[in-house]
């Protein structure tokens, strides 16, 4: 692996691979435990912070949101695909983490407009995740933690799970990073289209990645190749339906569309394919990525009428508008006659009811396949609005197995002595399926701090 031209770094106590929330929590903690720390971030400074730069809050236990309620919520979304011991560590440490975050310059604010339902469970970062990352980088700078940007780890010298060094590319030069211990916090593989294709086939070409393009899964793959035990379903990812006009990467929060349950969703043929009103939107939005991915061309279209405008958060891309269904279908590039027929049949099946989009109301269709179980109102008030939808990948579940000291566990069941993991790379231990808003940041913060402390201890 090592070539004569390779530069070497000095010998650090702790090497942190990654530059997001978990990585910086680990770096700061290790530094405070007396370790000499080097952080290597693959992204340039302006895009540092991984997917954390797109986040906005952290789920935290409070007086009104106790451990059991938190645990029950997790159990429900994961359908039991979780490790209770690790999950409870994350949950119990969340209030104390908030204090720690404040001590490191993170500021909080009341729940944001349009997110009041998260007010009692989630702590919102003032300015969002990039501001949070700025605070951590500032804290790291003040403490003299060294940070290398544009530095991607491309090879690991880690025989039998014992870390010796890592090879990184820094602006085209190869550098050997030497440290006594290492914390891996380099995210998942959601930005690696080739890898996504292994699970989804060619359809993955049409996926949009909501977060950083730097989560290419390289570190994850190397760890698995070096014998780390895997957790999480390798074929699953958290996918939501987002505006089809969003950029390929890094579109973040503003590409979401919340209007799906207020109208109908049709595929490229102009035909409905799933019950848009199955359950409350916060509980259903995460299945629509997969639903759209299964359609021809991985595209679908949300169609609403002007009755429901103003009942959902504004989208960054303007709706495509028309005064008749026929014109709208043409504007969306859909077969006009099929769309007209779909809407006519839908409208005829709508039963009278009292519309209330904040609860499971009694507006539903009868005799229609698939049905629309709630919020079914005739689409009859022009102008009509349409949004193209594409699957937007948020994160992947596949990760490496860790124990309660964030030690990476090898396939033979023994924990590696000096290798630790935090953040999305190991979140699959706790979140094997589904998603709980703000829980990724809880796992990242709690296990980042554990990994940092343990790595510092193991180094000395």
């Amino acid at each position: 692996m090592k070539t004569p031209s390779t530069e070497e770094t000095p010998f650090y106590d702790v090497l942190v691979v990654g530059g997001g929330n978990a990585a910086l929590c680990a770096a700061l903690t290790a530094n405070e435990c007396g370790a000499r720390v080097l952080v290597v971030e693959a992204a340039p400074v302006d895009f540092r912070g991984g997917n954390s730069r797109h986040t906005r809050n952290m789920r935290s236990m409070t007086d009104s949101y106790g451990e059991e309620e938190y645990w029950t919520d997790l159990l429900r979304v994961t359908g039991g695909q979780t490790d209770e011991h690790l999950a409870r560590i994350a949950i119990r440490s969340s209030p104390e983490s908030r204090v720690w975050m404040k001590d490191h310059g993170v500021r909080f604010q009341p729940a944001l407009g349009g997110t009041l339902h998260l007010g009692h469970t989630n702590a919102f970062f003032l300015g969002g995740g990039k501001a949070l990352m700025n605070s951590y980088y500032e804290a790291a700078r003040k403490r003299g933690i060294e940070i290398l940007y544009n530095t991607e780890v491309v090879a690991l010298n880690m025989p039998g799970g014992a870390f010796q060094s890592a090879t990184a590319m820094v602006n085209g030069r190869s550098v050997e990073l030497r440290a006594k211990t290492v914390v891996f916090a380099a995210g998942g593989f959601e930005a690696n289209i080739e890898w996504l294709k292994e699970a989804w086939g060619e359809a993955a070409e049409n996926f949009l990645i909501r977060g950083t393009p730097y989560n290419n899964g390289r570190v994850l793959k190397m760890l698995l190749d070096q014998g780390a035990e895997r957790v999480g379903d390798p074929k699953q990812c958290h996918a939501v339906a987002i505006d089809g006009r969003a950029p390929k990467f890094d579109g973040g929060i503003i590409t979401r569309l919340d209007c799906l349950p207020l109208g109908i969703v049709v595929n490229r043929e102009g035909v409905r394919f799933y019950d848009e009103g199955e359950d409350l939107w916060p509980k259903r939005y995460a299945i629509w990525g997969r639903l759209v991915a299964e359609q021809q061309g991985q595209i679908a279209f949300s169609i609403i009428d002007s009755k429901v405008v103003g009942r959902f958060m504004p989208s960054v891309f303007p709706a495509i508008k028309a005064n008749s269904i026929r014109e709208l279908a043409a504007a969306l590039g859909l077969p006009a006659e099929t769309v007209e027929m779909t809407i006519r049949r839908f409208n005829e099946s709508v039963k009278p009811g009292h519309f209330d989009h904040n609860m499971l109301d009694d507006c539903r269709t009868e005799g229609l396949t698939p049905p629309k179980s709630h919020w079914a109102q005739a689409i009859d008030t022009p102008p009509f609005l349409g949004y193209p939808l594409r699957p937007g990948i948020t994160f992947t579940y596949l990760g490496v197995k860790v124990n309660d000291t964030a030690n990476i566990v090898m396939r033979d069941g023994t924990p590696g002595r000096n290798i630790f993991a935090a953040g999305e790379l190991m979140a699959g231990n706790i979140l094997g399926k589904g998603y709980l808003a703000g829980f990724g940041m809880t796992i990242g913060t709690v296990f980042g701090r554990i990994a940092g402390r343990q790595a510092a201890l193991a180094a000395n």
């Binding site: 895009f47 944001l112 407009g113 300015g127 969002g128 990039k130 501001a131 500032e138 503003i254």
Partner: protein
Amino acid sequence: MTICNSCRYCEGFCAVFPAMERRLQFSEADLNYLANLCHNCSECFYACQYAPPHEFAVNVPKVLAEIRVNSYNKYSWPRGTAIIRSGWVVIVLFAVLAAFALAFTPQTSGGDFYAAIPHGVMVGIFGVAGFLVLVSWGFGLARFWNEEQKKPRMRGRAFLDALQDVLKLSNLSSHGAGCTYPDAHHSQARRVFHHFTFYGFMLCFASTSVAAIYDNFFGWKAPYAYFSVPVVLGAVGGIGLIAGPLGLLTLKMRRDRRIVDPQQDGMDLSFIGLLLASGITGLALMILRGTPAMSSLLAIHLAVVLALFVTLPFGKFVHGIYRSAALFRNALEQRSRDQR
């Protein structure tokens, strides 16, 4: 703005974002209002996940700065009077005024200002200039206020809220951490130096007002003793007017250029320069008033102050007028929202 409205992460930073959310669509009047509400602290730039080099290239403080300077032009009276964009305008103006003042000021000694420039001349020139300035501000203010069709209901409490925001620069404190100026690190420096400048200016104004009262009501003639009220106010104010602009200038030089609208450098620098010059010449005049340099210094000081007066409606000073009015509108909107 559409991006901001569907993201909303910056909601807690300052008054601009909640005001943005109270409107879902933005008329020109709305944009001018938001632009004048913005204190240009740049927190939202550094926190923005869509800031350049992201392809969306969101740069709220820079865009609002550009809108803001255009709004100054739009509101200015006489209508169409361009806002000063070049520092040279101010330098030439000052040079002409100073040349005139020096040419017509006889050399005297003994510290009697009015022997050099008669009282009536001073009062006459500054009275007329001051009156025109007030009229011009009045027009500008009315144009700003009436641009937005929807008129919030007047409330006294909101006036007090806005007054506090103006006097404390609450929107630059970022909840105590200080704003991100001149770079990404939080600091109270800009707020502190602005306070020096603002309160220095006000003390100098108070000094002149007290002197005018002394003269007109009590018949006490200048120059006043070193420990008299006008001199102490003027001296402290003068120090503020030196320390403040110097600090602001230093910060400005180090400002992150990604956020700067370069067209405004001339306007900003000429205003800071005039404030600084009036502080320096004022203090020098006070210290050297017993020497033969007095009459020339007086001429130069008055030329600086007159240049400052003449440019008040056409320079950076107007930011204070429109910012205060925008803060008042903001306070009215908040109060009426709270009541609902």
